[in-house]
Symmetry: C2
Subunit: 210 residues, 2 copies
């Protein structure tokens, strides 16, 4: 599917697709072959109207009265999300959080493989042994080009995050999952998703005060 | 500040407060004592009008022509966020991701301390040695009550996430940072922030497809 053919879809609708996909995978694991929109919506925690609206972004699915074919809908959503083949991802900034994410084994079952890690100081002492090769930042542009990597996980300190982002963008990275607590400035065709664990806790903290 | 006195503030505005706080901390570290709204907004990557609007939720700050007092504004935002004292947090579900987060040292500088971990199987073999005490789920209600814990990080498998959430809520937890890929059902006075790392990657993946 070319970008130009694709309707403008809200980011939240894409997140919900990920949720539907996980629900479908559970149904499949439980041996179910079809599911009604009501049952799938309930499993995903959304209203059936929301589910049907989200799916219409991508064409028609399901047969009235018969529901959705679990296998077919999973495959379709994976295709839309671009996760039906293993995608290479690099991680930049191997401190505590970076090391923790490198050891996390939850990405590969979801279609993402962290293929290499990069750091400004590859000789720094680290508490855990890495499964992935660790390279100096200088090797990044060549690696990204050669392997056709499009996505990066950014776990560098905040004071160098923008500078490293510029390097990533210049190397051809177009999707950044940013853990640094800063709003990165990127060209329009580059996508940044921010994940800040301490900020999530702060946000919770605000809302739960007595 | 009591909940009843507090205006309804959008969740995104609270996230931006966290960003402002981090910017102010950097300015303070660099020896700056005052900052203009333009400079602070630029550092945070927002428009000055946005910054001023966000701050008016919490009363008046700054003096026209003189800008904000860095120290005073930091203290005020910390107070609003409820992070000016170290808050106890528990982590539930010590698998790969849970272990990674337990070893992450980025929470304490931000005002959060993971004081204990809980798991349904405390004898399961784990690759890393934990810094925090690990208890059986049965000990959770007593611990939460005794220590006055309000926040939990939830890193259990998706198939038990709702059940464990019910236990957390029954024990008095009112803020949950959820890493399980499911929309949790909770009472109105309980807040859930969802963090799904694979979904963040999937979301990026969708938007960067050629």
């Amino acid at each position: 599917m070319k970008k130009t053919d694709r309707p403008v879809i809200p980011r939240k609708a894409v997140y919900r697709l990920s949720v539907y996909l996980r629900c479908l995978q559970r149904l499949k694991a439980n041996g179910l072959r079809t599911v009604s929109s009501e049952a799938l919506a309930r499993a995903a925690g959304v209203k059936p109207t929301q589910l049907r609206k989200d799916l219409t972004y991508f064409g028609q699915f399901g047969t009235r009265g018969l529901g959705y074919d679990v296998e077919q809908l999973s495959a379709m959503i994976s295709d839309v999300l671009g996760t039906n083949s293993l995608q290479p991802v690099i991680l930049v900034g191997v401190g505590n959080l970076g090391s923790a994410l490198l050891s996390y084994q939850g990405f590969e079952p979801e279609g993402f493989e962290i293929v290499a890690a990069f750091d400004a100081d590859i000789k720094r002492k680290r508490s855990t042994k890495l499964r992935q090769p660790l390279y100096d930042m200088e090797a990044l542009p060549g690696f990204v080009k050669e392997r056709g990597v499009k996505m990066a996980v950014l776990t560098v300190p905040v004071n160098v995050a923008q500078e490293v982002t510029n390097q990533l963008v210049a190397s051809g990275i177009s999707g950044i999952m940013n853990f640094a607590p800063i709003m990165l400035i990127v060209p329009e065709d580059v996508m940044v998703n921010n994940v800040n664990l301490a900020m999530e806790l702060e946000n919770l903290s605000f809302f739960i005060q007595p």
